[in-house]
Amino acid sequence: MEKTKSENPDVRKYKLRQTLIDILPLAALAVLFAAFCGIVAGKGYRLDMYLNIIFNEGVVLAVVATGAIFIYSLGSFDISLGASTLFSATLGVMAYNATGSLPVMLLVIFGVAVGCSLLSSVLASVFHIPVFVTTVAMMSVLSAIASQIISVNGGALGGISIPAEVVAPFEPPVVKIVFLAVFCAACFFIFDFTKVGRRQKFLGGNPVCAKLTGISLNKYAIIAFVIAGVGVGLGAFLTLVYTPSVTASTAGSIGMNILVAIVFGGMPISGGPRSRIYSALIGGFSYILLNNILKLIIDSNTGYGISQIVSAVFFLAVVYVTGLNYRTRNLPR
């Protein structure tokens, strides 16, 4: 029976298409990487420096987006992650300036990040409203409080900061890679090898069936938001490592970039069983590479915003192509 099925040309064609679509994000990343290296080298620029820049631009997005996968896999959505990053970094800087202690700063950053995430999910549970609604409210509240703290304490500088020497030991790329690798590995393990990940994918794929089998959406939403909070905390810390200062606009683009990164990584926005933990990593760096390629090709003196328009068109194309992977004519979820 198995043999007959595998010999069916339609099935073979279907499987081939699925495989191609599955590897498409990674292939796209490889192509973008090769194109980027070619363009930089072709223009006679310093490739080594450019690669470091790409890594630094991508690492915070990759970390925060990897944590966010747990939320997105539930079919939920968190627009407040950028504001949480800003808020955590702000309170972290304030804590360091008050105590002069790096461990205290780290404790505050991670505590605040996890606390903000928990608050979003708990509020949603208490008031029985969609989680993304509470995250919209949280985004406004956290941004406003952070702006208030920054403007009151930053004064004429317009920002608050810690001495660069404090975070200098964490600046070498290898240290950041270790942070990224450890966090991604932990997320990968939880997502793919524990019941937490499996149940979250089940909840995202079919919440009604999941509920009928006794899986609590609230419980797994809270776990997802806690893990995302850890990602936000690490992202906030890495933001401070790159630039040891915080202004009201710090991390302002992360919220939307996470969405783009996850889509570029080949994961459906609706979550479910096709969620992949590495989508954030692949998508995050793909997005950063694409942006930089466009900026290298399109002379910034010729006009603003052209690269964003091209990027948006690319985004729509990717959504369409990756959508082929989970679009079906039967049994919509």
């Binding site: 310093r46 630039t243 910034s300």
Partner: protein, 379 residues
């Protein structure tokens, strides 16, 4: 599982390549043009466009220099990344109109051996003390925060002297520090107190704390009939609420000529602003109700360019104690059309105030700090 491992291996290889690179910057040929990267946070304001036009349409045609502008830089990370990209492209210097984190900008330039100059605004005193002897810090020429305060103060004093009894105030984009200082100066200049205080630091501190001007904290002989700041859906409602009270003057610390000129001209209420000398403002003053304008002119960024040229060619301008350039540049003020046109027409197209002939007096191997100080003071 196999696929996941493949993904991880490929990503690990790419990350290793991304992170493991290093090296040193190559030498610039003597005959190649000077390449300057320009950091900008505002890409559409009239003042920013004026500066850009001066650099690209006048300076670039008269000197062997290439200016490359960044896109709008939103935060400190974007500024640092932009500088690193200019370094990777072999640029010689950075001119900064962006101020999210000047300390990080300067550290990044020094690390990448790029000269750095502040083209708009200034470092705060503590930052200047920290960096004034940095070998890559060219300097800063522009209005300091005290200069911003004094611009507001002068406006307030002008209208107090004119005998206004009621005013409306526009705080622009407070808590932007520049606007906070101007607003503080304006209140004090009108002869008012804010929360019982009338000295710069106390008023500025309170406005930062309040995130705006709290009218209930203002006391004195001139009545503030209304205050608004920012720009959003309700801005014009707030403006018309003030206009309805027919104040003697509407005083703005920035951008009012952009947002409210038509409304105020139509309502017949005289207004003042700290903005720039543009054709639109010329019309507002000659045909409308603009009665006071403090502004920069486009070529005011000429001297800092000259300082960068000197630095790139080996003459890093320093004072007797080895400190980097730090010169306050005052705003020019026009209260009538003749004065306005004199400033405006004297700084256009091919005949800017800081033209090639003027700038050449401060470009060269023998030019000193005092030459720059004299030039800036004379304009």
């Amino acid at each position: 599982m196999k696929k996941t491992l493949t993904v991880i291996v490929v990503l690990a290889l790419m990350l290793t390549v991304l992170a493991g690179c290093g090296g040193s910057k190559g030498q610039k040929g003597v005959d190649t043009p000077i390449k300057i990267g320009v950091l900008v946070a505002d890409v559409s304001g009239e003042e920013a466009l004026g500066f850009r036009a001066y650099y690209e349409n006048y300076i670039a045609k008269n000197y062997n220099v290439t200016f490359t502008y960044t896109e709008q830089l939103a935060d400190a990370a974007a500024e640092k990344s932009a500088i690193e990209k200019f370094a990777a492209q072999g640029y010689d210097a950075i001119l900064s109109f962006s101020s999210s984190d000047r300390a990080t900008q300067l550290d990044t330039c020094a690390k990448n051996k790029l000269y750095y100059a502040v083209a708009s605004g200034m470092l705060d005193d503590a930052q200047y003390e920290q960096y004034k002897q940095n070998e890559y810090f060219v300097g800063q020429i522009g209005p300091s925060m005290v200069g911003e305060y004094e611009a507001g103060l002068a406006m307030g004093e002008y209208y107090a002297k004119a005998g206004v009894k009621t005013v409306g105030i526009y705080g622009a984009f407070i808590p932007n520090p520049m606007h906070v200082y101007r607003a503080a100066g304006l209140i004090v200049g009108l002869g008012l107190t804010y929360g019982g205080a009338s000295d710069m630091d106390a008023v500025v501190g309170q406005i930062f704390g309040d995130q705006g001007v709290d009218v209930s904290k203002i006391a004195g002989g001139v009545q503030v009939v209304g205050y608004l700041q920012g720009f959003g859906d309700t801005t014009f409602d707030e403006l018309f609420a003030i206009v309805g009270q027919t104040p003697d003057a509407f005083l703005s610390v920035g951008m009012a000529t952009t947002f409210f000129a038509d409304a105020l001209n139509g309502a017949g209420i005289q207004y003042a602003d700290i903005d720039s000398f543009t054709s639109g403002n010329a019309t507002n003053m000659s045909e409308g109700k603009l009665t006071y304008l403090a502004g920069k002119y486009s070529s005011s960024v000429g001297p800092i360019f000259a300082a960068v040229v000197n630095a790139v060619n080996g003459n890093l301008i320093r004072d007797d104690e080895g400190n980097a350039l730090s010169l306050n540049q005052s705003y020019m003020v026009a209260t009538d059309s003749d004065t306005f046109n004199e400033i405006f027409n004297g700084d256009k197209g091919d005949s800017p105030i800081y033209n090639k002939e003027v700038l050449d007096t401060v470009i060269g191997k023998d030019v000193t700090y005092s030459d720059f100080a004299a030039l800036v003071a004379s304009h």
